[in-house]
Symmetry: C2
Amino acid sequence: MRKFEGYISSASNPRAKEWAKLLERKYRDREGKFLLEGIHLVKEALNAEWPLEIVAFDEGSGVLDAFEEYLDGDRKDGPSWIPVSPEVIMKCSETGTPQPIFAVALKRPPTKESLFAGELGGIVAVLDGVQDPGNAGTLVRSAAASGATAVVLGKGTVDLYNPKTIRSTMGALFHVPVLEADLSLLLPEARAQGVAVVGTSLQAAQSCYDYDFRRGNIWLVFGNEGSGVSAEVTALVNANVIIPMSGRSESLNVAMAATVLLFEAQRQRRMP
Amino acid sequence: MRKFEGYISSASNPRAKEWAKLLERKYRDREGKFLLEGIHLVKEALNAEWPLEIVAFDEGSGVLDAFEEYLDGDRKDGPSWIPVSPEVIMKCSETGTPQPIFAVALKRPPTKESLFAGELGGIVAVLDGVQDPGNAGTLVRSAAASGATAVVLGKGTVDLYNPKTIRSTMGALFHVPVLEADLSLLLPEARAQGVAVVGTSLQAAQSCYDYDFRRGNIWLVFGNEGSGVSAEVTALVNANVIIPMSGRSESLNVAMAATVLLFEAQRQRRMP
């Protein structure tokens, strides 16, 4: 049986206070860490061998029964497992009725260089000011499912690492590298490295079905829910594509449109 | 200036009580009517010339300022506009803070025959037990945006006409005909009429990119979030298709998968 570190009962314990600070973006940004709440996400992270600093759990809840396979033996390289009180769990959650387990995870961004290179190239999803946590989470999920190489979060985009967005990724963020960046600096650099930057602005756009996604590194940029891709970023793209619609309806929301475009790009790349 | 019907102040007024009953599915089913809440949906319905029985509004709120263009002149064929008290508005809403306007709309299902026929054929989205209101609403939105001919709601599917689902369609339900039906009766009939019924079950499925969507009437069936397309319906399909995934991630949810498939079908049909 695994030995655990000492029990933390008080929500004012210094470690508990450090963890709870990660509910705020400025601490997540500064520490390069974020919280994972609940059985599903903690399991997904463990399965993906994602770097976790600690796993904190309410032992009395019996939640560890769901983690037996991860606690067998003596994995020296794994996270510290720390029994805590329900008060500590509550302090480290935004929800009123938290699950009795959470983890502190480390951000693991890819290097810019790894995004530019890639022998076969790849599709990268770039978010420019997407504001809704559900949309951002869905976008990361679609990127992972479609086989995108990476996701880039531009400044002004909702924080992927807030608990609500993390939840809506359903764990997909463990399966696709995510980089936070200033697009006004990164995109020119990417283009200099041969990346084709493709926007989804309506101006001067061609049908996504006529655009050739088959070769090279292609970065697809998705914009804000209300105002679309920013003027600054639109000035940096090589081309713009649109999804032809029937015209009888409101346009798709950004997450749905991104799903169609990411899968269309991969469809073309699969063609013989 | 338009003359309005008499003001209704009491939430126990018989008409107000009739309207409020439409918050319950059994009354919606029985009466063939449903509620539209808020400025956006009421406007969308008016723009689409959707049959509305009444529009009720809180005159004191000033909400009619947003509807000036619909109130000019003397449109005899339009709905009755009825000033009501905030109490009546509250009684006819599920939300704690309703917008000061709602409408009672009539369901307007297409005939089965119109779905089978169609000179050029078309794509129909069929929902078999989809349970989440957000997923069902998104699916209707994708169907409308992709240019689907119609949507069929099988028994056991969430009620499209509950206020939450209506909201998540963003008004798309005014742009694509929706039929409620018993799939165990309707699908055999459709097949007898030459419709190709295509499931999204994982058994014996082929890639959606290899399936030929280009001609004829094709009905795409989407299943329950947990259990997928029912065994009963799977036994009635001509073929099953899947979206090839990268395999690194959880599958897409049903609304996202449906969006990809509906747009892929239309992409093929657009090809020369």
